[in-house]
C-alpha cells in the first residue's frame, strides 16, 4: 500500500507491504542510523519518534506511519551531535550500535520531562539496552547534558 508521511520534515510517499515494519522501511530508504537488535520489541535500538513520541520502529507497522511525522536521528542532527559530543567525551558510546536509538530516547526525555531525578532518568531509559558500557557512563553523560549533574 502507499503511505504519505513526513520524515525529518520532508513529505514523502512510499510504497510499503502490509506487514512491513517501519524500521525496515526507514533502512530501505537510506535511514541507516536505525538499527535492530532483538526481534522481540525489547532492546530499544530502533527508537525513532512518531509525532514526537519515542517508539520502537521495529514493532510499528509502516502503514501506521501514514499521515504521521517520523523523526530519525538524521532529522535532529544538531541536538544529537550536541549530546553525542558529551557521550563520546565520557567514552560511553563504545561500539556505537545502540547509540542512535539511545540518543533519540534521551532527546525525547529532554522534551518530555522537566528536571528529572536520577531515578526518573534511569526509568525513562530502561528500554534502551547496552551491552558495552554498563550504563554508568551513559548516565553521567545524560546528567551533564541535562545540567542535573
Amino acid at each position: 500500500m502507499q503511505i504519505e508521511l513526513t520524515v525529518n520534515d520532508k513529505l514523502v510517499t512510499w510504497d510499503v507491504e502490509n506487514d512491513e515494519f517501519l524500521a525496515d522501511t526507514l533502512r530501505a530508504h537510506g535511514f541507516l542510523s536505525v538499527k535492530k537488535a532483538c526481534d522481540t520489541s525489547c532492546c530499544g535500538l530502533c527508537t525513532v519518534w512518531m509525532d514526537g513520541k519515542p517508539i520502537l520502529s521495529c514493532s510499528i507497522l509502516a502503514m501506521r506511519a501514514h499521515g504521521k511525522k517520523i523523526t530519525t536521528i538524521e532529522g535532529v542532527s544538531q541536538a544529537a551531535e550536541e549530546f553525542a559530543r558529551i557521550l563520546t567525551a565520557e567514552g560511553a558510546e563504545q561500539c556505537g550500535f545502540c547509540s542512535p536509538g539511545f540518543i533519540m530516547n534521551v532527546l525525547a526525555m529532554k522534551n518530555e520531562l522537566d528536571n528529572p531525578t536520577e531515578d526518573e532518568i534511569i526509568h525513562y531509559l530502561t528500554g534502551n539496552l547496552c551491552r558495552c558500557t554498563g550504563y554508568m557512563g551513559q548516565l553521567r553523560a545524560v546528567k551533564t547534558y541535562l545540567g542535573v549533574a
Binding site: T40, A84, E93, Q94, S99, C132, T133, Y135
Partner: protein, 765 residues
C-alpha cells in the same frame, strides 16, 4: 619511558570514530552491503543429535527468486575449526561447512540463498529432511563414557595433542602440577573443599553476527564481516572452501560489540560459499534467536576446589579439578580449560604445591567458545569463593587473607617458570576498594529492618596481557605525501577504542597532534598481520608494535631532516612539526620533508613497520567489592553498590579504560545475578531471546564505581597492561560472597536467583 608530561597518552581523548557511530552514520556491515545482495537463511536441525537420511530440496528450488540451496552434498569434504586462533590452532578440526550429521538443535542443515528474506523463508519450509534421531549427550557431567559418541567420525584431526579421546566424548584433557598437592594438603592446618558451577553465558552483543560477501573485479572473494579476527577468518575460509588464501580479502568495518563471541567464525563461511557458487553478492544476518542459540557461549563448568592453609593463614596448596562443557564442537575447548588455572593459580604465591586437572567434554548443545575472561572468569568464581570460605574458617578478614597471600612485584609463582612479576598494584587495589565500599563498617552484614539485610563481599582476579610466545602484532606508519601519518594496523576495534589508543601511542612517540594521524585498520589486504582483538592483547602487543614503528619512523624523519639541513642527526631535534637544527641555523617542516622525499625526485617514502610479540603476559588485576541487600522474606537480592579497583598498568586513555571496566563489571553482574543459557530436556535452548535471557538493564545494576591504582609494567607501552577481560571476573564470587555474608546462603550454581536464596534460607530455618 615514564608516563609523565605526555600530550596524548594518559589523556581521555574521545574515540576518533565516536561521533560518527554515535550519530548513526553508515559504518557497520549491513550498512555497507550492496542493496541487491542475495539474502541467506539457514535451515537448522530440530534435533540435538541426528543423522540426515535424506534431503529433498527440489520443491524449494522451484520457488521463484531462490538462487541456490546448498546441503552437505555441496561442500568440500574437509574439516576445520571456527575458532579464531593463531595457526596451528589448538582447537580440533571437527566440523564441516555442512555435514550429514547434526550435533545440536540449531546445527546447520542447508543454506538457502534468495532474492529476499521472504522468499528464502518460504523456500526453507519446502525443504524435506528425513532424520535418524540419535540419543543426545545433554548432561555434561555424564558425557564421559556416555553410550553416545558426539564425534564418531574418523577424519577429525588436531594440530596438537590436546588430550582428545573422542570415543569418550573428551575433547581435551589438561593437567598441570607443581609440587605434591596431596602431601601439602595433608600437612595443612585448614583445608576447605567445595564445588562450583559457573554457567554458560551469552555474549549478547547488540549487533548480531553478520557477513556480506562478493567477488571483486579480479574474482577474489571479499568478505565484509563483523569479526574480531579478520586474518583468522581469511585462513579459516581458505581451508574450509579449499581456495588459496591469496583469493580472499576480509574487511572488518565498525562492529557492534564482540566480547569474544566474534573471535569465533559464524556466518562468513556460508555467505562466502554462496558467493563462490553463484558469483553474486550475498549477505547473512543472524537473527537474535540464531545469535543466542547457534553461535557460542561461555563454557559452563564444574570446578572442584581444594585449598589448604597453615596456622598463620598462608595458602599452601591449591587444587582445581575442572569439567568443561564445550558443546557440539571444540572451539577454544583446550585453551579455555587451561586458562582456568593459568589466570588463577598465580594470584597467590605462598603456595608449596598447586595443581589443575580437568577435561573438556563434547555434548549435543550449542558449542561454547571464547568469551571475555576465557576460563579466568570461571576459575575466579571457584577459587575466590573458596578463598572467602577459607577466610571464614581462619577467622581472618577476607581482605587480609588476600593481602597476606598475593604475589608481589619481583616475585615468582609456582606455575610461572621463574618469571618475575614485573608490576602489580593489587595490594593497593584491595586497600582502596575496601575503603571505598566501607568494608570496616559493613563487613559482614548490617540489618536494616525485619526484612532487609545488607551484606558485603569481595574477590580479586587477574588476567594476562596477550598470549606469551604466541600473540603477535604488527603495525606500520607512513609519512604521507601531505605531511601527515597513516597508521596501518591489523588490530580490530570492536568499540573498545583501540584505533584511538593506538593513534594516541603513535602521536605520543612522533610528537604530533592526534589529528595528523589517520588509521587504516582491519583489512587483510592492506593491514599488517594482527591475530585480532582478543586475549587482552591489543594495548599491550599492538600498542608496543605501534610504539616501535613510531620510534623507527621518527628516527628516519630526523635522519632525513638532518640531511636536508646539512647537519648530523645528533644536532637536530623534532619539535612543532619541524626538524630543527639545535644551533638554530635552520629548520624544515614535516610537510616539506614529505614533499621533498615522496614527490618529484625524492624517491623515498618514509615508513616504518614493526612486529611485536612478548615472552611474558603481564597480569592486570582487579579487586572487586559488592554490597547487596537481601529481602529475607522473598530471597530477592538487589545489588546496591559495586566497587572495582583496577590495576591495568598505565592508562593510555583513562575514560576508555573506565568504560571498559564499568561494562565488564556489569557483564559480570549479569552472570552473577541474571543470565543463564538454559536448555529443555530435549536439548533445545530456552533462553534464545532478550525476553527470556535477561542481560542487566539500567535499573538492575545499582551503582558501579571504578577506581584505578596504576602500576608501571616495564614490558608494556608506556607501562600499560591490559584491561579488556580482567574486569569481567570479580562480580560472581564477590556478589555470591556478599549474599552469604548477608543471610548465610552459599550459592554454588550461578546465577544467584531470589528463589535459590529463598529455598536455602528455608532449609536453614
Amino acid at each position: 619511558m615514564e608516563a609523565v608530561n605526555l600530550r596524548n597518552v594518559g589523556h581521555s581523548i574521545p574515540k576518533i570514530d565516536g561521533l560518527s557511530i554515535a550519530t548513526g552514520k553508515p559504518a557497520y556491515t549491513e550498512d555497507l552491503a550492496m542493496p541487491h545482495a542475495l539474502v541467506l537463511k539457514i535451515l537448522r536441525s530440530p534435533h540435538a543429535f541426528a543423522k540426515i537420511i535424506s534431503i529433498d530440496t527440489s520443491k524449494a528450488e522451484r520457488v521463484e527468486g531462490v538462487e541456490c540451496i546448498l546441503t552437505y552434498k555441496d561442500v568440500p569434504k574437509v574439516r576445520f575449526t571456527l575458532a579464531g586462533q593463531s595457526y596451528p590452532e589448538p582447537s580440533p578440526y571437527d566440523r564441516m561447512i555442512l555435514e550429514g550429521v547434526v550435533r545440536y538443535v540449531g546445527d546447520e542443515v542447508a543454506i538457502i540463498a534468495a532474492v529476499d528474506e521472504k522468499t528464502a523463508l518460504k523456500a526453507m519450509k519446502l525443504i524435506n529432511v528425513e532424520y535418524e534421531v540419535l540419543e543426545p549427550v545433554l548432561d555434561f557431567e555424564k558425557a564421559i563414557g556416555h553410550p553416545s559418541v558426539v564425534h564418531f567420525e574418523e577424519d577429525l584431526t588436531c594440530n596438537f595433542d590436546i588430550g582428545l579421546h573422542k570415543e569418550q566424548n573428551i575433547v581435551s584433557s589438561h593437567e598441570q602440577a607443581v609440587g605434591d598437592v596431596e602431601k601439602v594438603l595433608k600437612d595443612c592446618e585448614f583445608v576447605v573443599e567445595d564445588v562450583y558451577y559457573p554457567q554458560a553465558q551469552a555474549h549478547a552483543m547488540m549487533e548480531t553476527y553478520r557477513s556480506f560477501t562478493y567477488q571483486d573485479y579480479m574474482g577474489r572473494l571479499v568478505v565484509v564481516s563483523s569479526t574480531q579476527v579478520p586474518f583468522h577468518i581469511k585462513r579459516q575460509l581458505a581451508r574450509a572452501l579449499q581456495i588459496p588464501a591469496t583469493k580472499i580479502r576480509v574487511i572488518k568495518p565498525r562492529i557492534g560489540g564482540g566480547f569474544g563471541g566474534k573471535q569465533t567464525g559464524a556466518g562468513d563461511v556460508f555467505a562466502a560459499l554462496v558467493t563462490l557458487r553463484t558469483g553474486k553478492p550475498a549477505m547473512i544476518i543472524y537473527d537474535r534467536q540464531e545469535t543466542f542459540s547457534c553461535t557460542t557461549s561461555r563454557h559452563a563448568m564444574r570446578i572442584k576446589v581444594r585449598l589448604g592453609a597453615d596456622a598463620d593463614g598462608f595458602i599452601r596448596a591449591i587444587d582445581l579439578e575442572v569439567l568443561s562443557d564445550t558443546g557440539a564442537y571444540g572451539e577454544h575447548a583446550s585453551t579455555v580449560l587451561s586458562c582456568v588455572g593459568e589466570y588463577t593459580l598465580p594470584l597467590y604465591n605462598k603456595t608449596k604445591a598447586v595443581r589443575i586437572r580437568g577435561n573438556a567434554v563434547y555434548t549435543n548443545k550449542m558449542p561454547a567458545g571464547a568469551f571475555r575472561g576465557y576460563g579466568a572468569t570461571q576459575g575466579t568464581f571457584a577459587l575466590e569463593s573458596a578463598v572467602n570460605k577459607l577466610a571464614e574458617r581462619l577467622a581472618i578478614d577476607p581482605t587480609e587473607v588476600r593481602l597476606k597471600n598475593i604475589s608481589q612485584k619481583g616475585e615468582t609463582f609456582l606455575t610461572g617458570h621463574g618469571v618475575q612479576l614485573g608490576s602489580t598494584a593489587l595490594d593497593r587495589c584491595i586497600k582502596k576498594g575496601r575503603e571505598m565500599i566501607g568494608w570496616k563498617e559493613k563487613f559482614p552484614r548490617q540489618t536494616l529492618s525485619g526484612t532487609k539485610v545488607r551484606g558485603v563481599g569481595m574477590a580479586i582476579t587477574m588476567q594476562g596481557s596477550g598470549i606469551a610466545n604466541i600473540g603477535t602484532a604488527s603495525a606500520e606508519i607512513r609519512l604521507t605525501d601531505d605531511g601527515n601519518f597513516a597508521l596501518l594496523i591489523g588490530a580490530t576495534d570492536m568499540g573498545t577504542g583501540c584505533d584511538t589508543i593506538l593513534s594516541q601511542i603513535a602521536a605520543e612517540v612522533l610528537e604530533v597532534p592526534l589529528d595528523k594521524i589517520y588509521v587504516s585498520a582491519g583489512d587483510t589486504d592492506t593491514s599488517p598481520f594482527d591475530p585480532g582483538s582478543y586475549a587482552s592483547s591489543t594495548t599491550y602487543l599492538a600498542g608496543t608494535a605501534v610504539l616501535k614503528a613510531a620510534e623507527e619512523l621518527k628516527g628516519k624523519i630526523l635522519d632525513q631532516g638532518a640531511k636536508f639541513l646539512g647537519a648530523s642527526k645528533e644536532n637536530v631535534i623534532f619539535e612543532e612539526l619541524s626538524v630543527r637544527r639545535i644551533d638554530g641555523e635552520g629548520e624544515i617542516s614535516l610537510a616539506k620533508i614529505a614533499e621533498q622525499t615522496i614527490l618529484g625526485m625524492g624517491n623515498l617514502q618514509l615508513a616504518a613497520m614493526a612486529t611485536h610479540g612478548s615472552q611474558i603476559s603481564p597480569p592486570p588485576y582487579v579487586a572487586g567489592f559488592a554490597e547487596v541487600e537481601v529481602d529475607v522474606e522473598t530471597g530477592k537480592v538487589d545489588l546496591i553498590d559495586y566497587v572495582a579497583v583496577v590495576d591495568c598498568g598505565t592508562m593510555i586513555n583513562p575514560n576508555l579504560a573506565r568504560i571498559q571496566a564499568e561494562g565488564g563489571i556489569v557483564q559480570g553482574i549479569g552472570m552473577a545475578l541474571f543470565e543463564e543459557v538454559r536448555y529443555s530436556n530435549l536439548g533445545k535452548m530456552e533462553t534464545n531471546t532478550f525476553m527470556q535471557y535477561k542481560i542487566p538493564c539500567r535499573q538492575d545494576v545499582g551503582n558501579v564505581r571504578i577506581a584505578f591504582e596504576e602500576s608501571y609494567e616495564p614490558s608494556g607501552p608506556f607501562g600499560a597492561k591490559s584491561i579488556g577481560e580482567v574486569v569481567a571476573n570479580t562480580p560472581p564470587p564477590a556478589i555470591v560472597n556478599a549474599v552469604y555474608n548477608a543471610v548465610g546462603v552459599q550459592v554454588h550454581h550461578l546465577p544467584v536467583t531470589a528463589e535459590k536464596v529463598f529455598l536455602e534460607m528455608l532449609k536453614q530455618q
